[in-house]
């Protein structure tokens, strides 16, 4: 079967088996390896991407299900020289250690601010319950998201 997705603003159309998961479409067919696979069981959130702007776990979605929809991965945010406000906040507040969970956490945080632009610390902790950080770096992650909430555009996908 064929699936056509807009990934980070670019159209990607590929032939694949129906059982192909969205995360494999992104990594193997689009060649975008910033989306990590962690637990592969809908728990850890490493594979989080934005689907039409909402956070989802790409290990638990068939590529076929989202044909025609729009996906944002970490590659679609900013660059080292021109970071997205959420990436900038993680950088400034050291919201990461090993970095494996970070793409998923950053995207989940953008979705969180899109739904709740002015969250409390508790709302951030609860809003990120679907993302596990095994370096136990939550403290600085929460600080980064709190700081990002006051920066315009932190809850938005770049045009």
């Amino acid at each position: 079967m064929r699936t056509r997705l807009e990934v980070n603003g670019e159209v990607h159309e590929h032939e694949h088996e129906p059982r192909l998961l969205l995360v494999h479409f992104i990594r193997d067919l689009c060649g975008l390896s910033g989306t990590n696979i962690g637990c592969d069981t809908t728990s850890c959130g490493a594979c989080t991407v934005l689907l039409d702007g909402e956070s989802v776990k790409s290990c638990t979605i068939l590529a076929a299900q989202v044909d025609g929809q729009s996906v944002t991965t970490i590659e679609g945010l900013g660059t080292v020289d021109d970071m997205h406000p959420m990436q900038q906040a993680f950088h400034e507040h050291h919201g990461l250690q090993c970095g494996y969970c970070t793409p998923g956490v950053v995207l989940a945080s953008i979705s969180l601010l899109a739904e709740n632009p002015d969250p409390t610390e508790r709302e951030i902790r609860e809003g990120l319950e679907g993302n596990l950080c095994r370096c136990t770096g939550y403290h600085n992650i929460v600080k980064a998201v709190l700081a990002a909430a006051s920066v315009p555009g932190a809850g938005e996908i770049p045009a």
């Binding site: 809908t42 989802v56 299900q65 969180l112």
Partner: protein, 275 residues
């Protein structure tokens, strides 16, 4: 983990889905948000030959008031239940439970219909529909039937929905303004409940649904009877696990689950205003 290969069909309408089911029979499974079925397929505990994607059927995602009932389309997502002004007004217990299903990513995909048809005894929403005394509208090719929730869950991961039928609507009575409580005990925020209790004050008594206390989502019948005949929260809650057969697993022993059911039911009834 990769599912066993299958044929993918996309249903455009409810009629189309029913035709596809009639054509493929027991070999087919319906896919909505996929947050119950796909994990099972990835673990190869389920291996349907045909997957029928119903997520794009128009008109199966809605929340509306229908007389004394709140009518919810089967494809309504947990996120939609969580923030819907109508659900918050008429069935706040359902909105609260929906807000505690999985995590935000799961709630962006998972649907109430998918959750109920999966028939998992650990389902929060199932216990809520039991507590509220809800109804399920099930459509076949020839007829549509409405079942009370007590006839819906028939066994472990089994429901009354036939292999050639489609759950289209969930109906719960509008109970805005009555006292309710949702108690969920787990060790980590996003986990399934080890035990959960949904309770609502209804007609001078209480509706009480139990999460993860047996092979199916359960009604705490003995506690409900006790409340109806005037028992206090402590006495009624002591009967919460009567007739239940909770599992022992890595999370909790059967004995601990029985204990939790009593404690959580007492808290829930007290929150509902019972002395």
């Amino acid at each position: 983990m990769i599912p066993v290969g299958f044929e993918y069909e996309r249903a455009e309408t409810a009629e189309h889905a029913l035709e596809l089911l009639a054509e493929h029979g027991d070999d087919a499974k319906l896919l909505a948000g996929g947050h119950s079925l796909l994990p099972l397929m990835k673990l190869r505990l389920a291996a349907p030959a045909v997957v029928i994607d119903i997520a794009r059927i128009e008109g199966l995602s809605y929340i509306r008031v229908d007389g004394a009932w709140l009518a919810i389309g089967a494809l309504t997502r947990h996120r939609d239940l969580e923030i819907s002004p109508l659900v918050l007004e008429h069935a706040p217990l359902l909105a609260r439970a929906a807000s505690q299903v999985g995590d935000p990513q799961v709630r962006h995909r998972g649907t109430i219909g998918g959750s109920l048809v999966h028939g998992d005894p650990a389902s929060d929403l199932a216990a809520v529909v039991i507590a509220l005394g809800g109804e399920l509208v099930i459509r076949g090719r020839r007829e549509q039937r409405t079942l009370g929730v007590d006839e819906f869950f028939t066994g472990f991961l089994e429901t009354a929905v036939g292999a050639d039928e489609l759950l289209t609507e969930i109906r719960v009575p509008c109970v805005g303004g009555t006292a309710w409580s949702f108690q969920k005990f787990n060790r980590r925020a996003q986990d399934w409940a080890i035990v959960g209790v949904a309770a609502v004050a209804l007609n001078g008594g209480a509706g009480i649904g139990l999460v993860n206390m047996g092979a199916t989502p359960l009604r705490a019948t003995a506690s409900e009877r006790a409340v109806a005949s005037g028992a206090g929260a402590v006495e009624a809650a002591s009967l919460a696990a009567d007739g239940a057969a909770p599992p022992s697993d890595v999370q909790a022993s059967e004995e601990f689950r029985r204990h939790l059911a009593g404690v959580l039911t007492r808290r829930a009834l007290q929150e509902c205003g019972l002395e």
